[in-house]
């Protein structure tokens, strides 16, 4: 790192090097550590340094990857030698946030103290090439790392990133051109120019809810945090995450993902202007499999955003959440998440025998390097284990990442200048569960925990309600929907979901009122039109049903069920030629649609 004393006298610019050495305390440590090594053979690139660089740096520091310059040869490394010594000493490179602990992560990066000292000695001694044979560069796959994908989907429109300005958070909505459900064993993310992209995260949108936020189809939309709506319980059970240096990997055996016709993938990206205008157009590669999922991991989200109200100047604002597992799980991966004020982020597991495991500990959080961390081996956590999220936040001016200058009061929220306290865990519940699908048992326990934690939180009640509805505990689900709707009486999704429950229990009039309320706050709500159409048709109001099925078909012309129901309602209203048209359209969209086929047959018989 620093030039040693004897060398700087020789170089003849004492003033420069001395000022340099005083600027960095590490220089003193270096001078001491380097001294005893004098008698040893000099460190050379070919013998000692190339293996370190090739193993730890070149995956990103090669053309087309995230590193700003390549480090494949002596010349390339030599040109950056002093920089490499500085960034490794500060542990800025290779980027890796978690502290070393008992649990090992897959793809763990980082140099040992010995390796860092060796690099410093090499630079001190003049960064010599040496005469030993150079070890070969490890092989790196070019292009798609997992081979040619079965399907490539590119963002419909590129994003123009200006030369300067603040970081950009952009969401690309990728429409999957699937005609039928497919099992996917791997998703490889190509985020575009990797030098600009800090991370990219895929959210599965089965209800096309994200599209509504695009100003024009395919344009995407801004925003750091997005929420994907789902009206039925379907756990998003996989982390689909890219960060610089990510090695694309297939999901473990048995853990395929299912994507359907109409599934959208929302690629949430964090981009940093590079100094020149850039164009970003990400793509993803899908790898199909014939093997349906046999293992069903799920994502547990712990959080406590409601506690985030951080006064300006506060250096150590603590936020916690504690959740006790209702069954045995294997922990597969973990994803701690905060914004720019996050400082120390710890996740602990306290087992029933009171022993503890540090699941992850990041002492110096840096949003720019946020990541999903997969464990090298699953971590068994028995029923009764309490998982504790322990985060602290620094809202002082000393926190260089503070988005406010001077510091301001910061609350929880979705904007990058708001804060978050989230901890996601991917777990695989163990064994068969007498109480039903173990994921639902877990999700219900988490939903109950959230209602206790935040009794005034709409989403906590709504999520518990929909979970209880899915588990057929309808009385309690009704109470939770009512609690949610007391907090947000006009919420379209909650009104629609509660309407669904009421309709399924024979309360047609009350259900129709809920669907109407949903449509009042969101007139272009496909599901509410469809559901209201069903209820009205059941009540014999075919004219009303036709009106709402027509609206549904206008909103989603690709939906076979809506077309089939519209055709059926028209048939019941004796508008036979139009009925035939829509039933045929439904069959075009989905040749397997039973309703459309049977009703078309009936129409033919009546002729």
């Amino acid at each position: 790192m620093m030039v040693s004393f004897s060398q700087f006298l020789l170089s003849g610019s004492a003033g420069k090097i001395l000022a340099f050495a005083l600027a960095t305390s590490a220089a003193v440590a270096l001078a001491q550590s380097a001294a005893p090594a004098r008698a040893e053979a000099p460190v050379t690139f070919n013998r000692e340094i190339a293996p370190i660089i090739f193993h730890n740096c070149v995956a990103c520091h090669r053309p087309g990857e995230a590193g700003p310059f390549p480090l494949r040869t002596y010349e390339e490394v030599h040109s950056h030698a002093r920089q490499i010594a500085a960034v490794t000493r500060r542990r800025f490179m290779p980027p890796w946030l978690p502290e070393p602990g008992d649990l090992k992560f897959a793809d763990q990066r980082g140099l040992t103290d010995e390796q860092i000292t060796l690099i410093e000695r090499w630079v001190d001694q003049g960064a010599m090439e040496g005469e030993s044979p150079l070890p070969p560069l490890p092989p790196f796959a070019e292009g798609w790392q997992l081979g040619k994908p079965d399907m490539i989907v590119q963002a419909a429109k590129p994003l123009h990133v200006p030369a300067s300005g603040t970081d950009i958070y952009w969401n690309f909505v990728l429409r999957l051109p699937l005609e039928s459900p497919r099992w996917v064993k791997a998703v490889e993310i190509h985020p575009g120019d990797k030098r600009l992209v800090h991370h990219a995260n895929i959210l599965v949108d089965r209800t096309q809810s994200a599209r509504r936020r695009e100003e024009e189809p395919g344009a995407g939309f801004g925003g750091m945090e997005i929420r994907i709506e789902a009206e039925t319980f379907e756990p998003d059970s996989h982390f689909l995450f890219w960060k610089p240096g990510t090695v694309a990997a297939a999901e473990p055996d048995g853990m395929a993902l299912r994507f359907d016709k109409g599934t959208d993938l929302v690629l949430n990206t964090h981009l940093q202007p590079s100094g020149k205008p850039e164009i970003i157009q990400p793509s993803i590669g899908l790898y199909f499999t014939d093997q349906p999922a046999t293992l069903h991991p799920m994502l547990l989200q712990m959080e406590n955003d409601a506690r985030l109200d951080i006064p300006p100047g506060e250096r150590n604002f603590a936020v916690t959440d504690d959740f006790t597992l209702p069954l045995d799980v294997d922990l597969l991966a973990i994803y701690p998440h905060a914004h720019y004020l996050g400082k120390d982020m710890l996740a602990l597991a306290t087992l029933p025998d009171k022993s503890t495991k540090t699941l992850i500990h990041i002492k110096r959080w840096d949003l720019n390097w946020q990541a999903v961390y997969r464990y090298a081996a699953p971590v068994f956590l028995p029923r009764g284990t309490t998982i504790s999220m322990r985060y602290s936040y620094d809202n002082s001016a000393d926190n260089q990442a503070n988005p406010h200058h001077p510091p301001q009061r910061v609350m929880g929220g979705n904007r990058s200048s708001d804060e978050m306290a989230h901890l996601w865990l991917q777990v695989l519940p163990r064994g068969a569960e007498a109480r039903g699908d173990p994921r639902m048992v877990l999700q219900e326990a988490l939903a109950r925990h959230n209602v206790e934690k935040n009794p005034a939180d709409f989403e906590a009640h709504y999520n518990l309600a929909s979970m209880l509805q899915a588990r057929n505990q309808l009385d309690e689900a009704t109470a939770q929907y009512e609690a949610a709707l007391r907090i947000r009486p006009d919420d379209a999704v909650a009104n629609n979901a509660f309407g669904g429950l009421l309709a399924s229990t024979g309360h047609g009039d009350e259900a129709a009122a809920r669907f109407a309320a949903a449509l009042k706050s969101r007139p272009d709500y496909f599901d509410a039109h469809y559901d209201l159409g069903i209820v009205l048709a059941t009540q014999g109001d075919y004219r009303g049903a036709i009106e709402h099925f027509s609206a549904a078909v206008r909103l989603n012309p690709e939906d076979a069920a809506a077309e089939a129901n519209l055709g059926s309602a028209l048939a019941l209203a004796e508008q036979l030629p139009e009925a035939k048209l829509h039933l045929e359209k439904a069959l075009q969209l989905d040749p397997q649609n039973t309703l459309a086929r049977e009703n078309l047959e009936q129409l033919r018989e009546r002729r």
Partner: protein
Amino acid sequence: MGFWRRWFRMVESLTRGLLFCSLATALCAAQIAAVNLDGKPVDPVLASRGKVVVLIFVRTDCPISNRYAPAIQRLSQQYEGKVTFWLVYPDKSESAAAIRKHLQEYGYEVTALRDPGHVLVKQGQVQVTPEAVVFGRNGQLAYHGRIDDWYQDFGRARAAPTTHELADAIQAVIAGKPIAPSTTTAVGCYISDLE
């Protein structure tokens, strides 16, 4: 007067420890002058005689100096006529062709120099890219250090800078006022002092 100015600056350099070059001709020959992109030797301070001179040290592949490109270009335009800006590429591995491409990609309209012998690096006492050096009208080193406080450490940038040391130094020099501080530590990519 021109001769005197140059002499004055040499004295200044001598006090900074560049003694060898003026005395030992063997070492002096090894010191390669800064050149423009056509390979002609240029002394940017002499060439801009009577004007305030700003050197900004950059390299084509340093992500921090690259992110500063729009700000550097803006500053050079803001002080056009009063201050002569030069971009200095100190890494000897960067060719004139690579630098031309870099200037074009990043929209630079500032004259670029190569400094493979680190004559300007030593004269300006710089250590990293990006780092700025300000010379007064008399050719005297007035400021060297960071452009502003945008970057605090590797990978640690503020949302926006809160201090503007280079602009402050330029204004002070133009106004003939003292500069405080005249030296700051810049964050960036270390300029290699290895042969």
